[in-house]
């Protein structure tokens, strides 16, 4: 049993860390409502979006663990950009695996190089975790599909050039009626309106109103009815999404702990550094324990994936537990800083506002626990009305 990265993974970690500490350390990036183009391009040049993409599309071989490292290291300085890398992989790898050659030829290289931006669009006003309830319709007419419906919220929707969008080709069916499409967002008939959130500002989420937008059939990604499988494979109900969003939370929390540890040594109260008080040092000791445990849970789930083994249980554990322990660590770090943690002089309050979103980013905690229950107790633990989405794995 070896708890360490391979040589290649070590080098990758070093490269990502150097980039993150250099280019992403600027505080103002956190409150922008977009990810600057030069940063995206730089990341593309460094090959940050290339892992597991076919070579002909400027991809490289690499491990799932490397994607975890990428997310964790970037999240230590910028949570939203780490989130962007996760979404990029979801779009790019879904396209690489399921897309037509024409669609890949037109889009994939630019997406991987960071010249173009993708986003993932599943959620609708009346369907969040319940994917089978989406209503956006795609109707086939000869070599085209006409798409109509409303999507909200779509992270990165305002700045994206293209969306991997999920719509019903068979409205009679639930999860099996869903199909994925590549939808260029410059098309007329797509109206965007921005949603203002309490955190993760660079995501600039929005809603799309899609009024009979025509896209060529070559932009269908996968077969009709295969959409739900794509989501489970590489989308927001995937093990990838659950693990990576876990590592993003943990990356941020490690930075918060680092700040709390150094503050506890500098700040003096009652004639002693805060670190001398058990109320402070125990909190730090507890949180670093949780973070360490959670981090290895994530990397184990990724290592299982690299070995081609099942990781559904471990991934779902990451999905609900990591954001929770990360949130708690950041909350404690903020409170250890007292009133100074509450203002924007320090990044802690923004981290807390950002990371709280991760407690619902892979579906709610309840849904993820349901997967863990199913994997440990068995399908008897899945309520009947949820079985179409949670029993067919």
């Amino acid at each position: 049993m070896e708890f360490k990265f391979s040589r290649k993974e070590d080098l990758w970690q070093w490269a990502v860390r150097e980039f993150a500490e250099g280019e992403l350390a600027k505080q103002e990036l956190i409150t922008l409502d977009y990810v600057p183009a030069d940063i995206l391009k730089k990341m593309g040049e460094l090959g940050f979006f290339s892992v597991k993409v076919p070579e002909e599309y400027v991809g490289n071989s690499g491990t799932w663990v490397m994607m975890g490292i990428l997310a964790e290291e970037i999240a230590k300085t910028n949570i939203a950009i780490a989130y962007m890398t996760m979404v990029s992989y979801e779009v790019n790898l879904s396209l690489a695996r399921y897309g037509t050659e024409e669609a890949k030829g037109e889009w994939l290289r630019d997406l991987v190089k960071g010249n173009k931006r993708g986003c993932l669009s599943v959620t609708e006003p009346d369907s969040g975790v319940e994917v089978g309830a989406i209503k956006t319709k795609a109707t086939r007419e000869q070599d085209s599909y006409f798409i109509k419906g409303e999507k909200s919220p779509v992270s990165f929707g305002m700045q994206a050039d293209v969306a991997l969008l999920f719509a019903k080709t068979d409205p009679e069916r639930r999860t099996t009626g869903i199909t994925a499409f590549l939808v260029p967002l410059g098309l007329s008939g797509i109206m965007k309106s921005v949603i203002k959130n309490m955190g993760l500002f660079p995501l600039a989420p929005c809603s799309f109103t899609i009024d009979n937008v025509c896209i060529p059939a070559k932009y269908r990604v996968g077969d009709e009815g295969e959409g739900s499988r794509i989501l489970t494979n590489m989308g927001f109900s995937s093990d990838f999404h659950q693990i990576i969003s876990g590592l993003i939370s943990l990356g941020a929390a490690q930075t918060a702990m680092r700040l709390a540890i150094s503050y506890s040594k500098q700040r003096v109260a009652f004639g002693q550094p805060l670190a001398k008080f058990e109320a402070i040092s125990e909190k730090i000791a507890e949180d670093v324990t949780y973070l360490e445990a959670a981090r290895w849970l994530c990397y184990r789930a990724l290592a299982l994936k690299d070995q081609g083994l099942s990781n559904a249980k471990e991934a779902a554990m990451c999905g609900w537990w990591c954001p929770k322990v990360a949130f708690q660590a950041i909350e404690n770090a903020l409170l250890i800083h007292g009133h100074t943690g509450y203002s924007d002089d320090l990044p802690l309050q923004q981290m807390l506002r950002d990371i709280v979103a991760f407690e619902m980013i892979s579906g709610t905690e309840n849904i993820l626990k349901l997967i863990v229950s199913r994997e440990t107790i068995g399908s008897v633990a899945v309520p009947d009305n949820l079985s179409d989405q949670f029993s067919n794995y």
């Binding site: 959620t123 969040g128 975790v129 319940e130 309830a133 919220p153 949603i195 203002k196 959130n197 309490m198 955190g199 989420p205 003096v268 109260a269 009652f270 008080f277 109320a279 402070i280 949130f327 903020l334 409170l335 007292g338 009133h339 100074t340 943690g341 509450y342 203002s343 924007d344 002089d345 309050q349 923004q350 807390l352 506002r353 709280v356 979103a357 407690e359 619902m360 709610t364 905690e365 309840n366 626990k369 309520p383 009305n385 949820l386 989405q389």
Partner: protein
Amino acid sequence: MVLFTEEQKSFCEWVRAFALKEFSDGAKERAKLEYVTPEVMKKLAEAGLLELGTSAKYAKHPKDYVTFGIAMEEVCKVDFTAMMVLLIQVLVYGLAEWMSDELREELLPATSAGKKLLCFANTEPDCGSDATAIKTRAVRNGNSYTISGEKTSISGGMQSDAVITTARTHPSDGAKGITLFYVPLDLPAVSRSVFRDMGNISAGRASLTFNEVRVPISFRIGEEGEGFSKVMRTFDASRVLVGLSALALAETSLTETVEYVKCKTAFSNPLSRFEAVSFKLAEHATLLEAARMICYKALKLRDEGLPHSKEAAMAKWFAPKCAVNALRDLMLIFGHRGYSEENPIEQRWRDAISTQIGDGTAEIMKLIIAREILGGKFGPTM
């Protein structure tokens, strides 16, 4: 055991209706302003809610602290920006008897009319919880004092007309060297700078720098060296009221969430049918109610003239903690809707975190409780 007397019950009904009528409109927008609006202060004043805890003879409402707590809870359920204005009364009236006649006559009518806003300053860049470690100096020359130093994290500091501040009149005398002063904030020797906070924005938290500020001797409150003990006496009330203000944020959000989970469906059922959702609501309803009871118990003990420092400390760490935890979970029940600015819950969660920090951290409260239950000899030393 009766929680509220008949008189308190009818006050509760009245103030609840008053708050809903006067403060419902625009509350969400006001929470984003960097000050408390003059309209809010005026309405509070006209309703007699800025004379709570006063010894004024003709005050409209009963003077007990349970009544004060009810006012805090009910008003903050609708508009949290009123919290700071309501809270400062504890200090103003708590210190009134030690003010010079001149100061008292200038101050009390103006504050109870909502025409003057005060704030309180003790925290300094190098001392917060360690409250007696302050360095701000006040030096007497004849009939005036010259005050120099920096105060920080002062709620209401940007907006207030004046501050009641602690300053050291004796350089090395711990708590006994601390004296209270009234300092108008429009003096040229005072400068202020604002914090940009994650919540409770209307409190306009500030740093105040006193650069040889001269105040007359009549602006000293109490005798030299009495500052700390006098202020401490008011903390047992203000801590509970802060707790109730936090609970108010969570209680309103709980009510809204209960309605939401009945309407919002997932997998063909209202969310309320899922135990993962409904039991969470049940848990938070329990904790909020328990915290609320500690708050009112502390206020009742205060009204009866009985010791209540322990209960006040319990209220101050437990109520904000319960409120913040509840708000976070309620926000998550709303899913992505809860995360957007459309929904007031995210703002309330951010506001509530401030109540965990101001007026004494959880650690200080636990220190007080530990000393009370263990006895001074066995409690933690500090």
